[in-house]
Symmetry: C2
């Protein structure tokens, strides 16, 4: 059971606190990129550490575990999202149609485009929608719940007298689905020649189409049987 002593092959390495922060940063960067591209389950610790030029034990040392690293990334992405792209608030008296347009453009943007401050939030979020894990109810609670509530308020204003919990719920699901499907169904859409926009500048055009479509849909449900 005698453990062979590790043999130093290269020269001595620095190990100050500053190096530690750099290692953490490299791990966060590589892991964020890989988790966003392939999801938690499909990304291995060895893969992350290889990309980050770090030792596998660094994950445990700095983040406790693979899950801890992932949680850190999701949390920071969400934090960056809140800071750089706050959800536009719909206030009483605002034009609900305009608010719908703003909310849809916002959701499409943060879902599809790599934004500074939270470059992977959209893809991480999409992976969580696809297959939520226990560790990530937090994301649903902190991000998706307020987002859905915001859409629901706009939808309620548009439905006017026809508003009811059931109808509002369905409409809200429809609108969010219209936006999120572009990311969720990205792969099949690509294969059929309709790749969702990835550039900032292409979002408004799609947002206008979705908004017009959704707005007309909601209004039509005011006269429902």
């Amino acid at each position: 059971m005698a453990r062979r002593a590790p043999q130093r092959t290269s020269g001595p390495r620095a190990s100050s606190r500053r190096d530690a922060l750099e290692t953490q940063a490299r791990l966060l960067d590589a892991a964020g990129r890989l988790f966003a591209a392939k999801g938690f389950q499909e990304t291995s610790v060895r893969e992350i550490c290889s990309a980050a030029e770090a030792n596998v034990a660094a994950v445990r040392h700095h983040f406790g575990s693979k899950g801890g690293l992932y949680r850190t990334i999701v949390l920071r992405s969400h934090q960056g999202l809140l800071e750089h792209d706050p959800l536009p608030r719909f206030r009483d008296g605002d034009d609900p149609a305009a608010a719908l347009g703003r909310a849809i453009e916002h959701l499409l943007r943060v879902t599809l485009v790599r934004r500074t401050g939270h470059p992977y939030a959209g893809q991480l979020f999409a992976h969580e929608l696809r297959s939520p894990t226990a560790a990530l109810d937090e994301l649903l609670e902190k991000f998706l719940k307020p987002l859905r509530a915001e859409f629901a308020r706009i939808v309620a204003a548009l439905l006017q007298d026809a508003d009811s919990p059931r109808l509002r719920g369905h409409c809200t699901t429809f609108v969010i689905g219209l936006c999120v499907f572009h990311e969720l169904g990205k792969e099949p859409l690509k294969r059929f020649g309709f790749p969702p926009p990835q550039r900032e500048s292409d979002v408004p055009r799609l947002a206008r189409l979705v908004t017009q479509f959704a707005h007309a849909g909601i209004l039509s449900l005011r006269q429902t049987t």
Copy 2:
């Protein structure tokens, strides 16, 4: 390196061709259920064989590999789908609004409800949409492509003079997204208190809402800027 001889613990088992078919059937049944519930990657061969009361080697013997078993299941599900729930065809002269309603109800039904003849097709399809693998382009080609083409023809008829490849493509994506999102986003929807219908009898009501919403949305895009 001497391999210990396997010791028979229970009495002799029959091993006729009829038994073989039964074993295959048990494997297909258990694997279909598990693959549909958890996806290919997250389901292990040992798990399948345990549920099917079969030996792990049976998978290789009857289907070549785990992938072969999965391919068989996807293929049979698609076959059953074609036989039991053929896609309603939109013919020239049909009312496009009615055709849209039929197509939407069809897609919601086969996606959400466990149908006899292909009980797992919808969920298997959703798993493939989430994370397609090379082995399953076949499903996209055989099922999703004709489906999308059918929706596209209905959309084109509804758009009338405003029809263009780009607008038709977007509208088609919107409509399919509206239907499929109920399955793709099932988990979050459940957590927010809006579980998608699982019973046959609940589908028409949702289908009517989606159809009205989508119909109004498409018509509104006839006057686009």
